[in-house]
């Protein structure tokens, strides 16, 4: 008999036992392990996807930040440009101002120089005019003028005010009655005598006192006479008039010059203000 029912039943039981054993030892664990792995892979993929998403977000954030930085950089550059421009303008203005100041001070110095030169010139011209007048008078001086001068001189001595007279008396007493007469021209004898007599009559209390009169010629005294006793002097000359005139002329010139100076200063100020305006216009264009 090919078919053995005993063996068949045995084999059926054997097969069922094997199914049970393999289910317990093989399929269960293997399937479980595979499922777990699958789950882990899925989990890992999800993680990776999330991380990728995060990375994308981060990269976007970085890109945004970079753009912001670039924008800010441009802003800063622009600001720096504006600042530099402002600084440049300021420096230019300052330089311009300094140049202006230097020019102004130079112009002032020049002006001063000019003024002083002009005033010096004025003074010289005044002096020159007076010296011309003096020379004219010297040239014109003759015996008539001489006698007139002597008369005037003697009258001046006789008409001396009392204090003057006293001090002259003192000086004469102190100088042992030695006198020095400075004259622009050689005096005539009679005029000398007349002077002596008028001195003895008018000034010296004692008429017997001997007077020693020394004569010195001095052409710088324009038509003038000068009596010197010790430290006291009595003099009359055209020169003193001329000196007065000169003084008056110089004073006038000076006064007029100052007036002109003030006028020119005002003009100068106006001109410099115009300069500044121009400068501002120029810087405004830059």
């Amino acid at each position: 008999m090919i078919i053995d029912w005993y063996t068949i039943i045995f084999q059926i039981i054997n097969f069922l036992v094997l199914v049970f054993l393999l289910r317990y030892f093989l399929y269960g664990p293997i399937i479980r392990a595979m499922d777990q792995r699958e789950q882990k892979i899925v989990q890992r993929e999800e993680d990776a996807a999330e991380k990728k998403k995060e990375a994308v977000q981060q990269s976007q954030a970085y890109r945004r930040k970079t753009e912001e930085l670039q924008e800010r950089e441009e802003e800063i550059r622009e600001k720096a440009h504006i600042d530099a421009e402002k600084e440049k303008r300021g420096m230019l203005d300052q330089a311009r101002r300094e140049v202006e100041e230097t020019r102004r001070s130079w112009e002032e110095a020049f002006e001063r120089e000019k003024e002083s030169f002009i005033s010096e010139l004025r003074r010289r011209i005044g002096r020159q005019a007076c010296s011309i007048a003096r020379r004219c008078l010297q040239d014109l001086a003759d015996s008539r003028l001489e006698s007139l001068t002597w008369d005037l001189f003697i009258r001046k001595i006789t008409d001396l005010p009392p204090e003057e007279r006293k001090s002259l008396q003192k000086a004469l007493a102190a100088g042992d009655y030695k006198l020095v007469l400075h004259s622009a021209f050689e005096p005539a004898e009679d005029k000398l005598k007349q002077l002596k007599s008028s001195l003895q009559q008018e000034i010296i209390p004692d008429p017997e006192t001997n007077l020693e009169l020394a004569v010195k010629t001095d052409p710088s005294l324009v038509c003038g006479l000068e009596l010197a006793v010790g430290g006291y002097r009595v003099a009359w000359s055209i020169d003193s008039y001329l000196e007065d005139v000169e003084e008056q002329v110089l004073k006038d010139l000076e006064h007029r010059g100052r007036g002109r100076e003030a006028k020119s200063g005002a003009e100068y100020n106006r001109a410099s203000a115009a300069h500044v305006d121009n400068g501002e216009e120029v810087s405004g264009d830059g």
Binding site: N14, P29, M34
Partner: protein
Amino acid sequence: MTINPDEIVFFQWGWFKINSTVFFTWLVIFLLTFGSWLVTRKLSSEGELSRWQNLLEVLINGINDQIREVSQQEPGPYLPFVGTLFIFIAFSNILAIVPGYTPPTSSLSTTAALAICVFIAVPVFGITRQGIVNYLRQYLQPTFFMLPFNLIGELSRTLALAVRLYGNMMSGTIIVAILLTITPLIFPVVMQALGLLTGLIQAYIFAILAMVYIASASKAHAEIEKKGEE
């Protein structure tokens, strides 16, 4: 020469006897169980896989894919039965290369026992899937008159299943035995290699057919489900 391994009795005590078929079946069961235990006691679910775990995973994945392809259903409930059929038959046949070993599958009793298991499993899976009424209604399809033919078909395919495997395996063993007497050198080796191939093919055919029968028993239900969804 003994054709039937059932007749080779190793141990007998009263009516209880252990013949060659039963003994080698036990050997196969032991090897499979012990091997599985060795591999699956330290499985890793991530990182590197051990070589044996990888092999088993490939094997079980392959079986799952086949079941899915044939039944168009999730392989979960069918895997232990169909998978064990394939693994048991394949392992029994592959061991035929070992001298002194007689494959249990070359005994008609074993193949018949497996066929009977399939014969019982088909209605069990069918009824589990679609209920007893729906399952029994299948035998009346397309008409009441087809009932005897359906029943004959059911029986005949079980018989065919048993005889096909038995014939192939027995013939393989016998051919090698005969060839050994005629040309003892080289040629039997070729035939044995061929035997390995046919052994695997038979295991595959047996398991696939079993799956086809089970699937056809639970397919009607799946079709009803599909229609219901539509």
